[in-house]
């Protein structure tokens, strides 16, 4: 089976549902990874993208109760619930700018807060642009956009138009979860459906906005659901060409309604990245989101089909709440080294994948850390 798939891939032929399923079930995961790596290298060579981004969650109050979510609180007064004032949110940005490498992107994802006026979000965006007119605002998942439309009585397009007028540049990919209706009903019963999610992205793309798209895997879904999910992404992409990156997100079980499930293991993470790369022949980038994978596994994923490792992030609370062991943020230099150690060329990008700075590649993986640097590291310890 793998041989037939390999031939298809090398001929540039599109893979189908059965192929996707076979890739998920192939016992030789290294062979799957190698094939994905071939595709990745044909597209991007050794180039591996990252950016300077700031993650802010302005509120974790959410009317929905997704089973997998350890982040949201139902109501404002519950312990652990928080909503930032506009000033607090802007301050985060100013602090990050003052701390050294200024973020080129602010990435905002929130709960579905029932009690805020729509102007809160518009003002939020305007405030960021006031601080830095060049900053790219990648804010609000399609789930939030859909919620805004319902809650404030607008169409999707109206919501997007108004937010764009306030400074919105693109949409993050969160909230996709699993598109299959049955699974979605069980894990996310009370938020945008798959078609609503996709519709928001379709409209955004039609308006000339780019976006990302995700998949939450490793909970109650089957491999068939994952393949189906990938195919729906591919279908919309054929239509709009608006997705920049696909981001598989590993389910983390702590503190949520599915804590009895084991988290997906690294092998599953790597395989999912690889199959995504092979199936999504029309999406440019596959992202190994290091917060979800841990930097270690993200590094390996750079050889299993991923060409992007996300950014410096600085503050991340969603995965933290679900028990991720990853650090809060990685410094710019740490990201560069992470990529170089994998024998890849670090390329700093902006949100739209314009090259900001290309770093030299490590000549061989072995050369990533020179003996001299190791000696220095030793001295630190002794």
């Amino acid at each position: 089976m793998l041989e037939a798939i390999r031939e298809k891939v090398l001929r540039g032929e599109r893979l189908g549902f059965e192929d996707g399923l076979a890739l998920f079930n192939e016992p030789d995961v290294l062979a799957v990874g190698q094939l994905a790596n071939q595709v990745r290298e044909a597209r991007h060579g050794d180039r591996t993208y990252f950016n300077r981004n700031l993650r802010i969650e302005v509120t974790n109050v959410c009317v929905a109760s997704c089973l997998f979510c350890s982040f949201a609180k139902l109501e404002e007064h519950m312990p652990g619930a928080h909503t930032m004032t506009l000033e607090q949110a802007w301050k985060k940005f100013e602090e990050a700018r003052a701390a050294g490498v200024a973020p080129t992107e602010v990435h905002i994802v929130n709960g579905l807060h029932p009690g805020l006026p729509f102007s809160y979000y518009e003002d939020l965006l305007r405030g960021f642009k006031r601080i830095d007119p060049t900053v790219h605002l990648k804010c609000f998942t399609a789930v939030e956009i859909h919620f805004f439309a319902q809650h404030y009585g607008m169409t999707h397009r109206e919501v997007l138009e108004r937010l764009r007028a306030a400074g919105l540049d693109s949409l993050p990919g969160g909230g996709a979860e699993i598109f299959d209706e049955d699974v979605r009903r069980r894990i996310s019963p009370d938020k945008a459906t798959a078609s609503e999610y996709l519709e928001v992205h379709r409209i955004a793309h039609q308006m000339g906005m780019r976006s990302n798209v995700t998949m939450l895997y490793g909970h109650i879904e089957t491999f068939a659901h994952r393949v189906d999910h990938l195919l729906r992404v591919r279908e919309l992409q054929d239509e709009t060409k608006g997705f920049q990156a696909f981001i598989p997100l590993a389910f983390h079980p702590d503190g949520n309604g599915m804590k009895k499930l084991p988290a997906p293991t690294a092998m599953d993470d790597l395989r999912t990245i690889a199959v995504s790369r092979l199936m999504l022949d029309n999406v440019d980038h596959i992202k190994a989101y290091w917060v979800s994978l841990t930097p270690d596994v993200a590094q390996i994923a750079l050889r299993f089909g991923a060409d992007d490792i996300d950014g410096t992030i600085v503050h991340e609370t969603i995965y933290k709440a679900a028990g991720s062991r990853s650090p809060d943020g990685l410094s710019y230099d740490e990201l560069v080294r992470l990529i170089r150690e994998a024998g890849r060329t670090p390329v700093e990008r902006d949100t739209l994948y314009n090259v900001v700075r290309e770093h030299p590649k490590a000549r061989a993986p072995e050369a990533a850390m020179k003996v001299r640097d190791r000696k220095r590291a030793l001295e630190v310890v002794s």
Binding site: T294, R303, E341, E366, M369, R374, L378, V380, S382
Partner: protein, 647 residues
Amino acid sequence: MSSATEKPDARASAVSSGDRPLRVLGVEYLNARPLWESLRDDPRVDLRLLPPSEVARALSEDEGDVGLLPVAAAATIGELRLLRNMAIGARGKIRSVAIVSERPIHELDSIALDLSSRTSVVLARLLLARRKLSPRLFGAPPEEAIAAVSGRTGALIIGDRALDVEGRFPHRLDLAEDWLDWTGLPFVFAAWFARPDAVSREEEDLFRVAKQKGLARADAIAAEHAARSGLPEESLRSYLTESVRYDLGDEELAGLQRFWTEAARAGLLPAASPSFEEPRVARTRPSLDSILSRAADGERLSVSEGVRLLREGSLFELGLAADAVRRRKHPHGVVTYIIDRNVNYTNVCTTSCRFCAFYRPVGHPEGYVLSREELGRKLQEVKDAGGVQILLQGGLNPNLRIGWYEDLFRWIKSEYGLGLHALSPEEIIHLARLEELSVWRVLERLHAAGLDSVPGGGAEILVDRVRRKIAKAKCTSAEWLGVMRIAHHMGLRSSATMMYGTVDTPEDRILHLVKIRDLQDETGGFTAFFCWDYQHENGTHIAPGDNGTHLYLRMQAVARLMLDNVDHVGASWVTQGPAVGQVALRFGADDFGSVMFEENVVSSAGTTFRINAEAIEQRIHGAGFKAARRNVRYEWLTEPSAGSGAS
């Protein structure tokens, strides 16, 4: 430009500027003397005389440019240039390499081997295999080897001793003569081999002139040696002028090639062919692909091949080849793990290794020695959790005498009946020094008190240049290996480890693996190999595996490919984290290590991972394997369990 050429071992510039004499490694043996004698006084040459096995070590660790190298070692190192027209060989009887015995060779059931010449040992194995004989072979110091000869036990003896006992035993198989009988070719024992780009064509002439001068003095050399050794002068003269042949013509080359081919076919040496060209640029240099596929087929790799894999092999190439080897060695698709506990009985240590955040000096307020109560509680927990052994290690505490350990071991055995995987070589040597006993005696006493196996900790990198830098006070490579050799001879098993990523180079890491492989050839006592990278102190790095998880996976894969004679390779999830540990199962590992309760030496440096058996099995299943619990001998204690399906 390929990375292989980055290494600064090319001496070319030094030669042209003439600022460093050629570093020549000679062998003390009588038969080698004619080749190097006149080089002693040559200012262009810095001559060092060593035993043959040391020549191999020194040449591979770049302490010399050219060495009079036994041909087995030359194949093991690989990518050396052979100097023309000079060798130590024989066409027919060599007289100084023979198996002696009281009964005919086919009646022997064991043979003691003088291990000082690996070439002779390999040759002996080939000649025995050719006769379809498989006596038990065991290593012994030269004198003991001779003393062992009686009845059905013979001995392989080498050098002066072999000359000395000519005529003493009724049966004597001269190995070079037997080789001629088999192949119709002369046998070459040693020749001058040079490191890449280390010896120019002009310098090569020095050796030819030296050989002419030396051979002209053969009579005198024989006379001098007779005076020193007490061997009859006439016998030595004929030995040097008739038995040993110093030429390296077409026939000898064919003999050498045949030997290397036969030994490679038998899995005793890496495949090699003699080359007068610079091997790294030679047209015959094997491609990386061919090295990988030979490795995947289980063929033995040379040092230079290992270095190329480590420098140039891609993650997938190495992973797939290592996975193929793992599959061939362990076709059942089972990955094992052990339930045990690492107990650090004391943190007081007189050594202060730079990378160790665990130890406290003698008298420090944070120093501790675990009491029987504390130990007992820990051991009971191990038993309650279904554990079968403890790994007992500690600092080098001068207040704990051997009697303390013996009592402790007996107590653990009688009260808890747990397997005792205890005391790394460093601690054994420390005890031997403290008690002024031999290592043999210390091991014997501990063995009698209940020691089951010796953990392979403290190996770090078995290259002294590296050891001196990172752990000055620690035992030398030879001492570490020596303890393991003795333990194995005593019937104790042990693991082997490697900690890389400090000041070591890829060459150092491969040499480390080859030293383990060589000892394993000799004793077969290593059960498994584990490696991990040096762990920085907490806060100085982003994640465990600071030299990159890629390097870890590639390193482990290369280890699987190099260590063809070690059964098991374990994933070091304790240091790399369970995620990378799981991935490592596809990079040659067939063991997931232990469900550990504590691991102070590593966790003081900021790595703490805890995981239970269920989570380990989940990861093993997730990597596509069945999981089984094991004991320290890697015997399965449970039926291998398959995963519940799902993902």
